[in-house]
Amino acid sequence: MIRLLNRLTDPETRHPFFDQLEKLVRNRTGLAGLIIITFFVFCAFFAPLISPHNPIENALYEQLKPPVWAPGGSAKNILGTDDLGRDILSRLIYGARVSLMVGVVSVGIAVLLGTFLGSIAGSLRGWPDNLIMRIMDIILAFPGILLAIVIVAYLGPGLKNAMIAIGVISIPHFARIVRASVMEEMEKDYVLAARAAGCRRRRILFNAVLPNCLAPIIVQASLGFGAAILDAAGLSFLGLGAQPPIPEWGAMIAMGRSMILRAWWVMTFPGIAILLGVLGFNLLGDGLRDAMDPRLRD
């Protein structure tokens, strides 16, 4: 075990992943992002253990209790309760699960399809390139959130369709990045060497070129993750995403909106949770960009 650890941390023999990780941790922005995200992932994984109450259980005698520090609040519900008496802190903790799932699924869709389409366009060039990139241009011709809303309007509201819609609107960003990187890498000597050695095009693309294009994809994935959480919250706020009683942050804000006069806490805390979560991924994305790919700095 210790030998393995030594092997992993020794600068001479360790995998390049750890070089990147060290750079990321040394970069304050990236570290801050990493800490926030770790916190949310922790909440999501251990939600049943750390949340004080059941997030979807109504407690009709505990309706609209204020947070603990406000007059009338009790330590039983630290951040207060909503109009059905559900504990807000517990709902926030479980909400981390929903948001992370939204991020993973929609960014997953976008990365897979975007990388696939982008690498085809960048390596084949010619008409496939033209066809794919023009379709991507058309998706980009819509304001992102509008297209997501419209797709969900046709597919029907729900978390699943919201994730699909958000994934679809993010595909062009990945496709463009991958295409540009693939085109750049294809010019390099190692590709020529691989071709001279008799490698097939597909093998060159997947075994040699794509691994070298990973850095911008990872950076974009991190930023896209934050944007996906934000868009999903927006869709849920409009009633198009997560349906009750799923504890989703955007849906919680929508619920709190109607009782803004009586209970400010119902809509305030979910907003802070979204803000922190998205901030974490934006910080991580910025940090990753600085650590992995200095030329992409703005």
Binding site: P143, M183, L223, L238, R295
Partner: protein
């Protein structure tokens, strides 16, 4: 040797080549639409490089590009309805439709014809600006949109004004005092700004400034008791033209909170962009020359650096304006602002597909037009691109 996988030296040279060999700023311009609000990644598509092509040629080509883009948009809008399960005629007319009107609608849409004929009919109606009637109010969709677009544009312009004013100022000061506490705070602030859900910020603003302090109204464009002769539907313009100062005050009061909420994301992006662009310009030799000949720092910044530093910012401003037009949906819903966004959202909740179809088409068309204008404007403002 696993460590060589990154092939670093080759990458560095490629980077130098790319930044100097092509209009580096358009990297920013392209990737900033829509989703990755902060990302300035990846290379631009070639059509953004207009190196060596004369300006008028570029303007014509770029303008003509609107046609295929709008055709593509119309195909998407058309297909969305066509692939939705169910009878499109019934979707468009709602559940209360009679068999007779359904039959008329099927005839109108050409549902008995193949798909491409249906699309042809759809396109023909679009060109005539015939977007159908809404299910609920039986109004012409095109008229409803025209009535509401000025409200959305007014809100977007007000938000853009705030975003530019504060964004550019923050960016300049941050660049002038790089690594100072101010720089740090404003950059962290701008990161928070892009991470904030706009609809939540809107509600918080209502909570603090309308309900708590009572400074601004909660929603709408005009108080019920205020008289205003509506001419252009831009209420600010109407109030000024009719010299109705009381109404102007009221209109501005209603405009303040939604504009503030809507302006956060573009403000943050503009601040970051201004800062990085100014820092890049300030490193150049001509700035050293200006300093060496003894100019004051203020003169160096405002007379020499700002002119070049703001060029990439202008693109971002333009693109963000397009994003605002679409992003107004959430803000308008929160503030009950009677614009296209709120109307479109109501169409979605009522499942009024005529509204969804027409509204999407029009907002996307506006977005495409704004982006085209920005691209052309950028080429006109930045002569360095066309010279290369």
């Amino acid at each position: 040797m696993a460590r060589q996988r990154g092939s670093k030296p080759a990458r560095q040279t490629a980077a130098v080549f790319r930044v100097s060999g092509s209009p580096g700023q358009s990297i920013v311009s392209r990737e900033l639409f829509g989703l990755p609000r902060l990302c300035v990644i990846g290379a631009m598509p070639e059509r953004n490089c207009i190196a060596g092509v004369p300006m008028t040629g570029f303007i014509i080509r770029r303008s003509l590009l609107v046609i295929p883009t709008l055709l593509g948009v119309s195909i998407v809008v058309f297909l969305l309805l066509a692939v939705t399960p169910g009878d499109p005629a019934e979707l468009l007319l709602g559940e209360r439709a009679t068999e007779q009107s359904l039959e008329a609608m099927r005839e109108y849409l050409g549902l008995n014809e193949p798909l491409y004929v249906q699309y042809g009919l759809f396109l023909k109606r679009l060109v005539k600006f015939d977007l159908g009637e809404t299910i609920w109010t039986r109004q012409r969709v095109s008229r409803e949109i025209m009535e509401r677009f000025p409200a959305t544009i007014e809100l977007s312009l007000a938000a853009m004004f705030l975003a530019c004013l504060f964004g550019v100022t923050l960016g300049i000061v941050s660049a002038a005092r790089q690594y100072s506490a101010f720089d740090y705070l404003s950059m962290v602030g701008s990161l928070v700004g892009v991470s904030m859900p706009v609809f939540w910020l809107g509600l918080v603003l209502i909570l603090i400034f309308s309900i708590g302090l009572g400074w601004f109204p909660v929603s709408g464009r005009l108080s019920i008791g205020t008289d205003l002769t509506v001419i252009t539907r831009f209420y600010v313009v109407d109030a000024i033209v009719t010299r109705n100062w009381k109404a102007l005050w009221d209109v501005l009061h209603h405009l303040a909170l939604p504009a503030m909420a809507l302006s956060t994301i573009p403000m943050a992006i503009i601040a970051r962009m201004t800062r990085s662009s100014m820092l890049e310009v300030m490193r150049q030799d001509y700035i050293k020359t200006a300093r060496a000949k003894g100019l004051s720092e203020a003169k160096v910044i405002f007379k020499h650096a700002l002119r070049n530093g703001l060029i990439p910012v202008i693109t971002v401003i333009g693109l963000q304006f397009g994003v605002l037009l679409g992003g107004a949906i959430l803000t308008e819903t929160v503030f009950a602002w009677p614009g296209v966004g709120k109307w479109l959202y109501e169409g979605v909740t009522k499942r009024d597909y005529m509204v969804i179809q027409g509204g999407t088409m029009m907002v996307a068309a506006a977005f495409v037009l704004v982006n085209t204008i920005v691209d052309i404007l950028y080429a006109v403002i930045n002569p360095r691109i066309s010279v290369k």
